[in-house]
Every structure is written in C-alpha cells, then in structure tokens.
C-alpha cells in the first residue's frame, strides 16, 4: 500500500510539472483582430499595417458602441514585424485567427503585393477563407471611417456585407485562397473586390450609358450616387496581372465576370422599352445554367466561344405594353436583353484583353487540350490571352411576370 501511494505521489508530482501552459491562454487574455489593412508607407520598402480590434462588451452595458472597434496602425517592413510591434501597443496578446477581411490599399495593390503576401500562406493564424478587398485610397482611411449603421460588431458587419454579394452581383466575394490559387495557376489572373469610402458630402456623378439599350452604365466603389448609409461602399472589382493591380471593373462589368464564372444569382437590369424608348423595363435576371465555354486553339491562337443562358422575371413595365402575353412581344424583350448583354460581354473581354488580365479564367477551359503540365506551362496562356478571339452568344428567357398578368393602361 505504501509503495502504491509513493508511486501515485511521484506520478502526480511529475504531472504537476507537466502543467506548463503549452500556449494555453484564457479567452480574456487575447485580443481579437477582425480586420487588417495594408498600405504603402512613406519610406521605401515599408508597409503600413492597420489592425481593427473587436472589444468584447457585455450586452447590458450601454456604453458607446463605437468604442467596440479600435484601430491600431504601425509601420513595419513585413507583416511579422508588424505583429511584434502590435504586441507592444496593446495590452492583451493579439490573435489573428478571427480576421475577417484584409483591406489592401490601392497604391500597394498597384505596386504589387507579392512581398506582403508571403506570411499569409505560411503563418498558421491566417487562413484561405479570409476575405480580401482592395480599397481606393488608403486602407487606414477605409477602416477608420467605416462606421456601419446597423450592426454593432465589426466582425458581423464584414461577414454580412460580403456575404450579400449574391443579391446583385455588383461585387464578388473574394477570398485569399482564390486569389492565391489564381495567381499560381497560370490559367487566369486574380481579381479582388473593390471597395471605397464615399465622402458623404458629394452625391457622385451619374454614369451615362455606354451600351445602347441600357439606361445606365456601371459605377465603381466610391462613385455611387447617394448620401447616408454606411460610409463604406462595396462595388466593382480590381483586376490584377500577376500580383499588380492594373485596372478595375465597374458594377456592370463585374456582373459579366460573375456570369462567366457561373455564379450570377440575382440582379435587376434596367433596359429601354423596345417599343417605347422613353420608358424602361425592369427585369430580374439570373443564370439559367452554367455558361458553356469552349476554348480551342486555331493556329496557336485561342478562340473562345461563350454561350450563356439567362432566365428572368419581369418586375416593372411602366409603359403598360403587354409583354407578358408571350409570343413576339416577349421575344422582342428577350432579344433586347440578349443584345445588351452580348455587347456588355464583348466590352468586358476587350477591356480585360487590353489589360492582359484573364479574370474569367478562360485558360482553365484550354487545359484539357494539352497532354502534360509542361506543355501547358510552355504555352504561356496569360500572354496569349490578349490575342484571343472571343465569340459570345447570350440567350434570354423570361419565365415569370411577377404578380401582374397585364397592365391596363391609364387614360
């Protein structure tokens, strides 16, 4: 019995010694970062990094909700050093596991983010499912001025905001994983959603129509004609060639990109009424099936065929013309929409070909034509894209009419 107790005591003593922390930290010893911003710094080769913290607050306390998000900025050579400096600037140990969005300033994006991108793939606290956005202006500005109207928690705001991309297709949900795999895939170029902070004083300019038949053209983030609401705007896409930003897409072009990627779910289009050019028809469109894309090589030059089926639901006909009855009326309307979209898609491909940014990923469809990886790498798709010939065919089918069968005209 004595020996048994002795053995037990020795075991317990040893196990008390095992009780090292092993990195265990209580919940209230960590500070959670929910958003990060990356900018160029004034000095050459340095980056300015902003961190937005979420401060936990009890539901019952009625303190100022704006104190929930705290922003700390420091300037460092790399992200890792920035993290070290951050530790000296806040009392609790910062933890990056809950970062929801990484905001990249436009200047840094145009300079190239390859240098900053390194730690994202290697450090265990970052993960591929974090969202990335490019902002016009500086990221610090964006983070500081972004005070959302509805939610009190910044983490929830980012998730809700970015998750609502499906409603319109005006901006896309871009993650670090998508960016990185596109970057290394040499079958396409990466793209990142575009955001900006809209100074609330101006109402922005209304953009004029570019495509016949459509009433208005797209906007970019920061140019939306509005006042009130959140200071931040999510609209458009930034185009990248490799790791450098070379241009941007407006909201309508982003819709085209979304269609080509096959994830266009919902969105209203405003078209001129074909029989009454002064009024407009509203149609709610989505993709009927995945786009059929065919890429073939004709004498070393890629020829791309795109065939898209759109399905829609009429949501407003002010001119009271009875398009709903089907037959040639509906066909005319459908034709109108198809024409508009065909033109938009051609514009989109021209725009991207000029910038040498194959964001739609046409290179992927060319891969089965090759026999081995080496052959495909030798072909260098990204340079050949600007010479490609793009043929687009859009079919529209308007399936539903909303709650009204016909509109009886007023006298």
């Amino acid at each position: 019995m004595c020996r048994y107790l002795m053995r037990l005591t020795v075991l317990f003593a040893m196990s008390i010694l095992l009780l090292g922390c092993n990195g265990a930290k209580e919940l209230d010893q960590r500070a959670n970062v929910v958003a990060m911003g990356l900018d160029t710094a004034e000095q050459e080769g340095m980056t300015r990094i902003s961190y937005q913290f979420a401060v936990p607050r009890m539901e019952t306390s009625k303190e100022d909700a704006s104190k929930d998000a705290v922003i700390v900025t420091n300037t460092a050579a790399t992200l890792a050093e920035g993290l070290n400096l951050l530790n000296s600037e806040v009392s609790l140990q910062p933890v990056l596991a809950h970062v929801k969005v990484i905001v990249v300033g436009e200047e840094l994006a145009r300079r190239g983010i390859a240098n900053v991108l390194g730690p994202f793939m290697r450090y265990r606290e970052y993960r591929g499912s974090m969202f990335v956005v490019v902002t016009r202006g500086t990221a610090k500005n964006f983070l500081e001025n972004n005070k959302p109207v509805f939610v009190t928690s910044m983490a929830k705001y980012y998730e809700e905001m970015i998750g609502s991309w499906q409603e319109t297709g005006y901006f896309l949900e871009t993650t670090l994983h998508e960016y990185y795999t596109r970057l290394k895939s040499n079958s396409g170029q990466p793209y990142i959603a575009l955001v900006a902070v809209n100074p609330e004083s101006s109402e922005g300019k209304i953009s004029t129509q570019k495509v016949p038949g459509e009433k208005i053209d797209g906007y970019r983030a920061g140019d939306l004609p509005r006042s009130g609401g959140d200071a931040a705007e999510f609209a458009g896409t930034a185009l990248f060639d490799g790791d450098k930003m070379v241009g941007s897409l407006s909201t309508t072009e982003t819709r085209m990109l979304s269609m080509l990627l096959g994830n266009y779910r919902n969105g209203y289009i405003v078209v001129e009424d074909p029989f009454n050019p002064n009024s407009t028809v509203n149609i709610n469109l989505h993709l009927g099936s995945r786009p059929k894309i065919n890429v073939a090589l004709v004498e070393d030059r890629p020829v791309i065929h795109v065939s898209i089926l759109l399905e829609g639901e009429i949501s407003s006909i002010p001119s009271a013309i009875n398009y709903e009855q089907g037959g040639s009326y509906l066909a005319t309307l459908e034709n109108q929409v198809s024409q508009i979209y065909q033109q938009q898609l051609m514009n989109f491909s021209k725009h991207t070909q000029q910038l040498n940014a194959d964001v739609a990923g046409f290179g992927y469809y060319l891969r089965p034509a090759f026999q081995s990886n080496k052959e495909f790498e030798d072909y260098k798709w990204n340079q050949k894209y600007s010479q490609a010939e793009v043929n687009v065919e859009v079919k529209t089918r308007i399936r539903r009419n909303g709650l009204m069968l016909r509109t009886v005209p007023t006298e």
Binding site: L19, N22, E26, N32, V34, M58, E59, S153, A155
Partner: protein, 623 residues
C-alpha cells in the same frame, strides 16, 4: 563444445535479464460449447494432496505402532518379563508420546480449520442441551429459545425444540410443530424408526429433514428453522419455520419505468427467487444455493436456464463464488467485487438490477443471475457495455421511440464524459473554432472572473458533487427543495459574485443532467471518474490530449472482460448481435440470442415469428 558454452552463457544472461512471467493460471475465456467432448469425471484431487496424505499415513502408522506397543506390553506383562525391558519400554513410550503430541497438533489444526466443532449429536437430551447452551452462550444470548416438551406417542418421548426468536414464525411453530407433537395422539409402531415416524406422520410442516451434526443444527437455527431433539436418538430434525419480518414487495426505488412491471426485489432471498419464478415458468430454471462467508453464512443463489446457459460459464461462476474466503458478505455489490475479472477497473462488469423482469429477460438470453440474501439487488453476468445502457421498458415502447431514447442516452453518456474537457480545450487552446460573436460574448462574460478556467471547472464540479451527495442525506421532505435551492441559488450567486462565468454554469449543469440519463448508476460513476482524467488531459495538451486519452480509454474497454466475454462484444470482436446492441430491432425480428454468450441453443424465435401474418384471416374481405 564451444557452441554449447555460448548457448549456456546466452541462456543464463537471458534468464537474468529477461522477465519471467509469474506462473498464473490462464484467465477464463467464455469459449464455444464443447459439444460431444464430455470428459470422464475423475474424483477431484485436493491441491495439497501430498501433505494430507503424509499426515494420514503418519497417523495410521502411529496407530499401528501404538497397537503393537500395547499388545507387546500386555504380552510381556503376562510373561512377567517387563521389568528387565523397562528402559526400552520407557524409550518406546517416550517416542510414542512425542509422536502423539505431533499427531495431536495435526488433529487440533484440523479441528480448528472448521470453526465449528465436529461433535455429533449425542443420544442424551441433557448433553445436547448443554452443547447448545455452550455454542450459543445461553443464558447470555437471549435470542435462542429452548422449549422442552413431551411428544405424545406410546411410549412418550421427551423432546427439545430450539429456535431463534424473531427468525422463526411463531404461528407455524405453534400450529404445525408443537400442536401435532404435543396434543394429537399417535400410535407408533415399535419396529420403525422414531425419527422417520415423527417426520412422516406427525409433522404437518412443509419441509422437514434429519440432521446428524451440530454444524447443520446451527445452520438451521441461524436461518430460522426450528430444531427438534429427541431423547435417546442420535439425530435431530430441522423443521422449516422461517418467518422473519421483511419489507413487502414494493416499487423499484432506483429503476422506475413508465411501462413494465412495478415489482422490485426485497431483502429475502426466497421472495426474490419466487418473483423470478413467477415471471419465468420454466422447468429448466435452476436455482443453486451456495453459502458464502465464514461467519456470516449468507446464502447466495445462482439462477440459470439449464438448456440455454453455457455450462462452462455456470461452472466458472460457481467456482468463483465457492472460492471466496471472507468473513461475511452482506451485499451483492460486495460479492460482485469478489468475483469479477478486473476488480480494479471502475467499469461495472455485472449488471445490477432490482427488477425481476430485467433478470428474466437476461436469463432467457443465456446469462446467469446471482442473488444474495439480504440484498435487494441482483447481479447478472456476463454483460457488455451496451447492455448497461438499456433500460427496463425499452421493449414495451415502439422501436422508433425507444431507439431515439437510446441515442439520447448514448449522447448523454458521451457528453457527461467529454463536455468539460472539450470546453476547456477549445476555449484555452483552439479558440478559432468558436464563432466570433459567441467568442466575444463569452469573453465579455469571462473577463470579470479572476480565476482560470480549470479552477472554475473544478469548483463547479465540487459544488455539484456536494449538492448531489448532500441531497442523498437530507430527510425526505426537504430533499428536493434544498436541491433546487442549492443548485439555483448557488449557481446564480456564484455568477453574480463573479466567481464563475455563466457559460461554466451551463456546461456543468448540462454535464450533470447528461450523467443522470445513464440508466446504470455505477456506469455513470465510472464516467464521472474519467471526466476528471479527461479534464486534466485537456488542461495539459488540449484536444490532442483528449484524443489520446479517448483512444486509450477505448483500448482499455476493449481489453476488459466480463466473465470471459469481451466487454464491447458485438462490436469489437464482431459477432452476430441478436438485434439489441445500441439500437434495437423490432421484437419480431430478434431471432438469435447474442452470439458472444455461446449458449447451447442459439435460435430464440422461429424464422417466421408471426405465423399469423402468413395465414388467411377468418374475417371477411374488404370489398
């Protein structure tokens, strides 16, 4: 020669260094039936045969020498030659005396081995009475009553009736023993045996038997029989008069059920066996009685179905119970720990129940039931872990609902073992797994608590155990009130005083509730012990520690055996299950008995267990 030398050196080093396992008998394994391999029964040879044989030989030799010595001495006396050989006689006499002391020592040792003396009943009534008074320390011991009377036969016989006050039923004694012997006139035929005559013709009692030694007399008196001594006869008669006060058959205290019989065992062994027999009317049901305990002599009953239960299993159970060497066994739980394979493992290796219907169900499956006099809990062996999670009225409900309840019980079992450890691991090591909103609100709540999470867990566990343990001992009316008061107010006050965080109260409360969903109390206790181990592992190594210890726990359970049957039987060694493991099949689809019990008869339902479905009903058509 060289090779031999190397070989010997190698073997000698090996013998020094290599571990030699101790010579233990192989553990019992519940194997397949040995059909048609009946061994020839030899007489069992006792283990220390050589020693007792030597002793017997020594005694026989001593007796022979004594006899020859006496014969020679008488002869010499007759011859008148003894004086000259005085010295030789003295030497022989001394040698014989020394031998006698040795023999006496052996005889004494033999006599002391049995606690009771072996003297047989003498023919003198006074001597018997004196012996009884000596054994029971009368008149100090007021429990034993001696009643002298005269039996009214021709000629009259003096008799002595001895019984234990309180254990013997007075009415039976007066009506069935004293009255016929004293009052009724009987003629005795002079040739026949008096005892036989009395037993067969005078005693209208249910059981009466003749005994020849005081050991059996004591056993009879101690259990409540009345013993009748007759003047001039060297035997006694024990008469069945058991009738001690006992609790009536009541509802089960710990295993309530919604549907299902509401009988429960009581403390009297005969009542318990009667309850089982009243549910299982089979001629194959055998009840063996084995006395256990040297001073206590309580009876232990083994019940099994002869044509179903594996014979080796029954023999093994019998062997283990007979091989117990202790003073007294008052509870079946104590008996259980004497006979299981792994007494140091907290997982229960027999099922303890106080409901006869559960016992009957398991008897029919081929298991063995063990009941102990004085304990209202019966034990069933062998069992698997899955049997412990079945409840009594699982079969009375529809199988969808009872399967749903069983899943809840299993989930409850896992929760009761793992939840605090998982919470500790995730909140201190792997915080990214918690959704951000929940994390922020937990952090806000926890931020005001000055203690680390492990301290909170231990404190709340301690509080919960205190409430539970205290609730056991509070007198009935206050019990539930204080439980509620303790739990709610203690929890609420602790949260307000910022000693624990609200989430911790929830975690511990859910864990406690989950542990009450486990039907078997001892299994819940085993889970509670391992919960602390898991919490400790999570404290040191997070989820890695929890995973490692869970694996080791499963390994320990897989190597656990309950009477030679693997503990995780239908799943770990994959055997045909019999339809009732974690989820159960509908009652008409359970055609086989559990394979791991290796019963003699494997099929318990025919192929078509509802023949009425195949027959044409007698009613009309539906047209």
């Amino acid at each position: 020669m060289r090779k031999d030398g190397i070989q010997t050196i190698y073997t000698s080093i090996k013998n020094i260094l290599v571990y030699q396992p101790s010579k233990q008998p192989d553990p019992f394994v519940l194997d397949e039936n040995q059909q048609d391999t009946k061994k020839i029964n030899c007489d069992p040879i006792p283990l220390d045969s050589s020693e007792s044989l030597q002793q017997l030989e020594a005694m026989v030799q001593y007796a022979k020498r004594l006899v020859t010595f006496i014969e020679d001495y008488i002869e010499e006396l007759h011859n008148g030659q003894w004086f000259g050989k005085r010295r030789e006689w003295k030497v022989q006499y001394d040698a014989l005396k020394q031998q006698q002391t040795e023999i006496n020592a052996i005889l004494e040792k033999k006599n002391n081995d049995d606690n009771v003396s072996e003297p047989t009943i003498s023919t003198s009534l006074e001597e018997n009475q004196k012996k009884i008074e000596e054994i029971y320390q009368l008149p100090l011991n007021k429990d034993v009553v001696i009643r002298k009377f005269i039996i009214s036969t021709q000629p009259e016989v003096k008799a002595l009736l001895i019984f234990m006050d309180g254990l013997a039923d007075k009415k039976v004694m007066n009506m069935a023993v004293l009255q016929p012997l004293m009052l009724l006139q009987n003629q005795q035929e002079s040739d026949s045996d008096v005892v036989d005559f009395i037993i067969e013709q005078c005693l209208p009692s249910g059981q009466a038997s003749r005994v020849g030694s005081f050991k059996e007399v004591q056993q009879g008196i101690n259990t409540g029989d009345a013993v009748l001594f007759l003047d001039g006869i060297g035997e006694a008669v024990t008469i069945e008069t058991k009738g001690a006060e006992h609790r009536g058959v009541d509802r089960p205290a710990t295993e309530q059920s919604v549907r299902g019989s509401q009988n429960a065992f009581t403390e009297v062994l005969r009542v318990n066996t009667a309850l089982i027999r009243s549910m299982l009317h089979s001629s194959d049901l055998i009840t063996e009685m084995i006395p256990v305990g040297k001073r206590g002599h309580s009876n232990c009953a083994i019940m099994y179905l002869k044509t179903i239960a594996n014979e080796e299993l029954v023999a093994e159970v019998r062997r283990r119970i007979k091989g117990i060497n202790t003073d007294i066994i008052i509870d079946s739980g104590i008996l259980e720990h004497f006979i299981v394979d792994f007494p140091s493992n907290p997982f229960p290796q027999t099922l303890s129940t106080e409901r006869p219907d559960r016992v009957v169900v398991h008897l029919v499956e081929g298991r063995v039931a063990i009941l102990v006099d004085g304990s209202p809990f019966g034990h069933i062996a062998p069992i698997s872990l899955f049997t412990l999670m079945h409840s009594a009225d699982d079969f009375s409900m529809h199988f969808y609902y009872s399967n749903f309840l069983r899943m809840i019980r299993w989930v409850g079992g896992l929760i009761s073992m793992l939840l605090p450890a998982l919470y500790l691991a995730i909140s201190t090591f792997h915080q990214e797994a918690i959704p951000t909103e929940l994390l922020l609100s937990i952090t806000a709540a926890r931020g005001q608590v000055p203690f680390p999470t492990i301290f909170e867990i231990l404190l709340m566990e301690l509080a919960f155990e205190l409430i539970r343990e205290g609730g056991l001992r509070i007198p009935g009316i206050l019990g539930s009130t204080l439980g509620i008061v303790g739990a709610i107010i203690l929890g609420q006050a602790a949260v307000s005083a910022k000693i624990v965080s609200p989430i911790m109260v929830i975690v511990i409360a859910v864990t406690g509730l989950a542990s009450y969903s486990i039907p078997e109390y001892r299994l819940a206790s085993a889970f509670r012990i391992f919960r602390l181990v898991f919490v400790f592992m999570a404290l040191v190594m997070g989820l890695v520690g929890v995973a490692c210890s869970f694996f080791v726990l499963t390994g320990i359970l897989s190597s656990l055996k309950s009477f030679g049957m693997p503990y995780l039987a239908p799943i770990a060694p994959k055997t045909t299950s019999g339809g009732d493991v974690i989820l159960r099949k509908p009652v008409h689809m359970q055609q086989r008995r559990p394979d791991e019990l290796n019963t003699q008869d494997v099929i318990r339902q025919g192929d078509v267990s509802r023949p009425w479905t195949k027959q044409i009903p007698t009613g009309g058509d539906d047209s």
